[in-house]
Amino acid sequence: MKTKYSGFALPLCFLLLLAVLTVAFFALPKKSYAENEKRILSDPPAFSWQSLLDGTLTEQAQTYIADHFPLREAFVGLHAYWEQLMLQNGDSGVYRGKDGYLFATQPKLDLDKLEKNISAIHAFADRSGLKTTWMIVPCAGYMLEDEMPPVHASYHDGDVIERAKTLCAKDTFIDARSALTNDSDAQLYYRTDHHLTSAGAKALYDAYCIEKKLSGHKFMLTTENNGFYGTAYSKSGLWLTKPDTLEIYAEPDGDYTVTITEGTNETNYGSLYFPSHLIEKDQYPVFLDGNHALVRIQNNRCQNGKKLLILKDSFAHCFATFLAAEYETIYMVDLRYHRSPVEEILQKEGIREMLVLYGAENLANSTDIAWLSLL
């Protein structure tokens, strides 16, 4: 039988929920690393009078609570699906498209900065006597209109590529848009990640070979790995999205030495592929171990004397595993991390050729390319 006090169920439930989560916060073991966010979670704040007085103690406590909140990722997911329910697709920085596609939304592209970046690269190329080839990769949202949700903001990769094409009339310019215009059923972009799939990178490689009149090498599918959850997935909070399959195409008899330089540390590896990343959520670093300041790829079976510098962001990683077959030596420089002169290497190795390979958004908005004029 109902009593007249049934209205008090509300405060009871309210207090109970707060209490349960508070207790859980203290009781549950704490993780030190968040794989989806790719960051180390904060440590409990250490008390000092100084930090108490200047307010950093409470700031740290706040971060600590947020980082280790019980069911943290479940709450993030709930919020993401709530936004979907409210039709606020894209508010979290990711559009949920058709067929399991997730598309990162596009920040404002800065065409003035694009011009500055391109002229910085031109100045560098002139200074070093490099012959330059450009390849600017449009994002998935721009290329896959059919997979986009019906309501979305427009993507402006086309403007970036057109502008760059005009500015680089004296260089070789490979329009990645036509290379990535799909006439087969191949999936050229990952569904849960912003990168090109191996098929997409291969399409770019083919276009590069045609432009450079290279015969091209044969590659074979060697690995097919499920369970790849990319950056768009991590950002979206849409945890029920199906993972991608990552494929590796390799030369049957490839023999490479990969030298990765971080600061003053040089490490040699015997392969273009780093399979240890295949057990992680984000598997893309399987190609050349992900982001590094300087990577040297030595093709041990090739003595054609051809050497190449690639100025790049991560779109180049998968692509380079194909292109490596064509050159004796490739240097890849990532200006987001590389902060020492490149010209020394160019002179020592006698490199005369450069490929600039960037995602359109990065090339337009990068603040790191300006470093070229200082290096």
């Binding site: 405060p11 707060l18 909140f69 943290r72 709450f75 992900g290």
Partner: protein, 465 residues
């Protein structure tokens, strides 16, 4: 600390509640005072001293007013000194930077350094509360408070400390000393708190992200986008502020206080005069009681009334923030209210209701442009976006922005009107509602927590190891 944050909901609030109800009635104010000071010190520990100083100043003034009961002259002197001291505190901590940066525009003073004072949170609110106490004690509307802890509790009380409502001492005098706690009051408090939390977290924050986009693009927004943006801000500021007030009033109830209502569906107003009776009511009341009426209000002729209106609205404007655009915003309403006082209001009352509402909303919405742009150049650029098609009337991006937030806007409209409240009043004793309420309440709280947690979720995607 703000109410819509994880540390408040899961640490501060439960700890306060447990301590508060664990101690006997006599000690409850002391517990509230202690926790309020902690609450205040959470963000800026040093400013606890300022708060304590302000409490001591006004407490002493109250005691002196009581001690000089026989001498009107001395009482007046105490009042004047205390009010000046309060205004100096507020002036120094809130307006010094504005003053210096404005004076620096004159070449003679360009050497002046910027004072770089961080605004103490809530100083505008607690200074006004303290002043209401001193003025009302002087007017003998209330007796001087002899108990320092009780007085301290009034000034520092954390529910209304940082964003109002501005509670007048006379309104809570008895509650400070004898208040009854009941489950019914507590339940109402939880209900109101949850409602306020949803307004802030689920509506205001989401609407805010639309406005942030449009505000950043001031000058290049197409017309439709500009209107979507300013409407988003219109709703954002209402749900933000009234949500915070609801949470404050709700928390007050949980601790046995009944505060005045601060918002009464302002966007349903049918004139600007009406709007200001519904928006931030406690501030309007304060200015009426302690500025407008003492200046003579409408009793000294039309010219004087006009002047009084402009003084009050100039002050109301600049009270909102140390920036000249707030003064502009206040005076804008001064002009509108004067026009209404001298004839428009009567015509509005005869006009069709729809017209009266549209007129009111139109000017209120435009007012928010003045309110939220600190720089005149951006403000002008945004007005140009609203009223000229210089960047096109309608773009696909603008349309996408509108469509993808349509459900949010519909919710915003519904909860700006008394519809939800009426439905609640009608159904609250119904059996189905009684079963449903705790379920809805928990669901709402879970969604709010999800949103708060999600806002701290920062994928660091390009990080390198």
């Amino acid at each position: 600390m703000v109410f819509s944050s994880l540390p408040f909901l899961f640490f501060f609030f439960p700890a306060t509640l447990i301590c508060y109800y664990a101690v006997p009635n006599k000690a409850k104010n002391a517990v509230l005072l202690l926790f309020s000071l902690l609450f205040y010190g959470y963000g800026e520990p040093v400013y606890i001293l300022l708060m304590v100083g302000s409490i001591l100043l006004n407490y002493t003034a109250g005691r002196l007013l009581g001690a000089f009961d026989e001498s009107e002259k001395k009482r007046k002197a105490v009042l004047v000194l205390c009010v000046i001291a309060n205004l100096l505190l507020l002036g120094f901590f809130k307006y010094a930077s504005l003053f210096v940066s404005t004076v620096k525009l004159l070449p003679v003073f360009s050497f002046l350094p910027d004072p770089q004072i961080a605004l103490p949170i809530g100083i505008s609110f607690y200074t006004f509360q303290s002043m209401s106490y001193v003025i009302d004690t002087y007017r003998r509307n209330c007796a001087p408070q002899k108990n320092l802890i009780t007085f301290g509790t009034y000034v520092a009380l954390f529910p209304q400390l940082i964003a109002g409502p501005i509670v007048r001492y006379v309104d809570v005098e008895t509650q400070l000393q004898h208040r009854t706690h009941s489950l019914v009051l507590f339940t109402n408090g939880v209900r109101l708190f949850l409602f306020g939390l949803c307004k802030k977290v689920l509506l205001a924050n989401a609407l805010g992200s639309i406005w942030d986009q449009c505000k950043a693009e001031a000058g290049v927004n197409p017309t439709l986008t500009a209107w979507v943006g300013i409407l988003a801000f219109t709703f954002q500021i209402f749900f933000d502020f009234s949500g915070y007030s609801d949470m404050a009033v709700g928390l007050g109830k949980m601790f046995g206080f009944e505060f005045v209502r601060n918002f009464n569906y302002p966007y349903t107003a049918d004139s600007i005069t009406d709007f200001w009776r519904r928006w931030h009511i406690s501030l309007g009341t304060w200015f009426r009681e302690y500025v407008y009426i003492p200046l003579g209000g409408n009793r000294r002729g039309k010219a004087r009334q006009c002047l009084n209106i402009f003084i009050v609205w100039g002050l109301t404007g600049i009270w909102h923030g140390a920036s000249w655009n707030f003064l502009l915003w206040g005076l804008y309403f001064g002009v509108l209210l004067t026009i209404e006082k001298f004839g428009l209001l009567q015509r509005l009352q005869k006009a069709p209701r729809v017209l009266a509402h549209l007129y009111t909303l139109f000017f209120v919405v435009l007012g928010w442009v003045l309110f939220d742009f600190t720089h005149l150049r951006d403000m002008g650029a945004y007005f140009a976006n609203l009223f000229t098609p210089q960047n096109g009337l309608l773009t696909s991006d603008g349309l996408a922005l509108l469509i993808s937030h349509l459900p949010l806007f519909v919710c915003a409209v519904v909860f700006s009107a008394p519809t939800a409240r009426k439905a609640f009043e009608r159904w609250k004793s119904h059996r189905v509602y009684r079963v449903l309420e705790p379920v809805l309440g928990v669901a709402a709280l879970v969604l709010c927590i999800a949103s708060l947690v999600s806002s701290t979720y920062n994928p660091f995607l390009y990080f390198r190891f």
